[in-house]
Amino acid sequence: MIDFEQTPAIAQMAAMMRAMATHQMRPIAREMDENEHADPTPYFEFIWESTKGYFKENSRPTGKATPAPVGAQPKGGSGPATGQARQCVIIEQMSWGDAGIYLATPNPGLGGAAVSAVGTPEQKERFLKRFGEGKPKWAAMAITEPGCGSDSAAISTTAVLDGDSWVINGSKIFVTGGKRAVADSEGFVVVWATVDRSAGRAGIKSFVVEHHTPGMTVLKVEKKHGIRCSDTAAIVFENCRIPKDNILGSAAVAERGEGFKGAMATFDATRPAVAASAIGIGRAALEYVQERFEKEGLSPRYGISPQKLTARERDLMMMEANLKASWLLTLRACWMGDQKVPNNLEASMCKAKAGLAVTQVTQKAVEMMGPEGYSRKLLLEKWMRDAKINDIFEGTQQINMLIIARRILGYSKDQLK
């Protein structure tokens, strides 16, 4: 039955996260934007302490392979799976608080998700246990290189087996949380590298590189348009030796690139998460503008003839409709993921829609507030800068449109380049 009711557990979690976002994130949002790369230490410690138990529970070898970044999992619990939907509700609320701080939250992140998805029980124990104990830690994912972005199959970082070690050489950029993962904490980074360049996609494997491994250098931390609290690192690997059993999945070069496909499939879970984060920022901006207009006695008149709407009313309504449509597309992708139904098309749809919608919503919000919107006294201009990344990372809008196009046409990558 078609149903849009939140389960009580998710609704309760949403309320908790909303309170956390209001009290722990919003008050420091501006400060963390102005002081790029500073650590919001009290927030880190607060969130680390409140999520440690959850990660302890879920990092055991038998633990659920869930990349949920924060929040306590309800105990026991039978009935239909809601893991992805729940995760997206959490991310949406946190990003409503602050997207930069959300992205900087100490947690297993994308690196941990990769270990959860394909790691052996021994690897899960070795790499994930740390998120349930000690000081705040991060794990990152290194895919992009100076010479390749969306075309991950063109990766040129190499991994060569030498005795009991893999030797990694190459440069990675745009590693979200990379510095905090490998230089500031006892975390790790998952590095995509090729074991056989002649094999193309089939030769690409992922490797766990521990913090402070010799041969790995954090070259720089990027200065960005937005999400400034989140560090985006460039990392260089020069004869960086890691243990042989730090490879995730099989070392064999599969004939038809199954390993690469497996790696790409993790995007089906992470794209809705990016969409959810985008929507949180968009909602923050829309709510602010709505409240300000309401104080001026300007509330959209739903129900009247559309021809009689003012430009402001129409703008507010279209912002709201686009955000809501993005959210429903996101929930659908999560619902399918939770049912273990293939959702590659739907994941790309929600990401493409949300990235663009939120870019436009936040730009419009700045415009609608005039000089106030452009001023750094308010958070609107920051939200506009933070929003834009969602139209770019985890597959640009265009890459996602390409995936949608191939799916609806039934075309391979050779039939539609």
Partner: protein, 368 residues
């Protein structure tokens, strides 16, 4: 608990409607548009299907199917996928049936629902839209005033579907100032003094459905002509159902246009390759598919709100606004994908563009 899966019963309704649309709507769409007339026997054939009035309670002679705005939305999408004007024509009885079921007095139900459960297509219709660029359902120009125990109606209506042959008209009029809460509905029999049924309108699209203009000059009606009599109707809710219906029709039209354009783009070759293999075309198609899904989910959520008992003015308004815009944009893009061929009336896409423009003009449709 989130779910995006129709029930088994809804899936059966979808399939029935889809089969009907493929057999009785799409093949007749072109000629009925060219001839500006319904195909012979069309209303009778559609009436036998029983979809438009299936949710009339058994106590009034109906089939007593579960009433649900979500189910209605699923059904209307399929019918409009076949052909929008023909779908609108077959749904006309529902414009009267459901306000009467929801708000009618016992006397009105007995009288009107008898015709709506009879063997032949009923001669009833509803009149809401007015011939003015200022038309606003929340501030109608047609007024009803209570004078000495009788209602006096004055004003003009247009887009009254199947008005040429209708015998009973459900006319919406404002009692007092602006506001959805001021609108009431009145049963006006043909032939009432002061009530003139005009000749058939000529519109850009939706030509197969005959629509007429009405003129009401001091039309005097007994108090029991007011739907629901002293209780009246909840017009805000009537409008929410209408918005869901129109949004569903828009989504169906858009899906039809998308499917056609996609298939064409895979067949049509330029420079030795199907045009769909170029991003310039493929991205247009991807955007169509994405926006249709977005519009459908907004529509489902709004309909779900109605089924929960909420009036959902805001949700249905946003859903309809989005669906109207999506239908127009998708139909326009379908013409664009077909290029010159899209502009020729041998292909259906130009017709869909003409129909889609009409969606935002129409008002007062009914879900079933």
């Amino acid at each position: 608990m989130y779910s995006f899966d129709p029930t088994d019963e809804q899936k059966l309704i979808i399939q029935t409607a889809r089969d009907f649309a493929a057999k009785h709507l799409r093949p007749l769409a072109h000629d009925s548009d060219e001839q500006s007339a319904l195909p012979e026997g069309f209303l009778a054939a559609s009436w036998e299907l029983g979809l438009a009035t299936g949710a009339i309670p058994e106590s009034f002679g109906g089939a007593g199917m579960t009433r649900s705005a979500v189910t209605g939305a699923l059904l209307l999408e399929e019918l409009a996928y076949g052909d929008l004007p023909l779908a609108m024509a077959m749904l006309v009885p529902a414009l009267v049936a459901y306000p009467v079921v929801d708000y009618g007095s016992n006397r009105q139900k007995t009288e009107i629902l008898a015709a709506l459960t009879a063997a032949t297509f009923p001669r009833v219709t509803a009149a809401l839209v007015e011939p003015s660029m200022d038309y606003d359902p929340a501030d109608l120009g047609t007024r009803a005033t209570l004078v000495d125990g009788a209602y006096v109606l004055s004003g003009r209506k247009c887009f009254v579907p199947l008005g040429t042959n209708a015998e009973t008209f459900l006319v919406y009029a404002a009692e007092g100032g602006p506001g959805l809460d001021k609108v009431q509905a009145f049963l006006v029999p043909r032939g009432t003094p002061g009530f003139t049924v005009g000749s058939k309108e000529k519109n850009m699209g939706l030509r197969a459905v005959d629509t007429v203009e009405l003129v009401l000059e001091d039309v005097r009606l007994p108090a029991h002509a007011r739907l629901g009599e002293s209780k009246g109707v909840d017009f805000a809710r009537v409008m929410s159902y209408s918005r869901v219906a129109i949004a569903a029709l828009g989504v169906g039209l858009a899906r039809g246009a998308f499917d056609y354009a996609r298939d064409y783009a895979k067949e049509r070759k330029a420079f030795g390759e199907p045009i769909a293999s170029r991003q310039a075309i493929a991205f247009i198609l991807a955007d169509m598919a994405l926006e249709i899904d977005a519009a459908r989910l907004l529509l489902w959520e709004a309909a779900w709100q109605l089924d929960k008992g909420n009036t959902a003015t805001k949700e249905t308004y946003l859903a309809r606004m989005y669906a109207d815009a999506t239908a127009l944009k998708v139909a326009d893009n379908a013409v664009q994908v077909l290029g010159g061929h899209g502009y020729i009336r041998d292909n259906p896409v130009e017709g869909w563009l003409r129909h889609a423009r009409g969606l935002s003009t129409f008002d007062g449709m009914a879900t079933v």
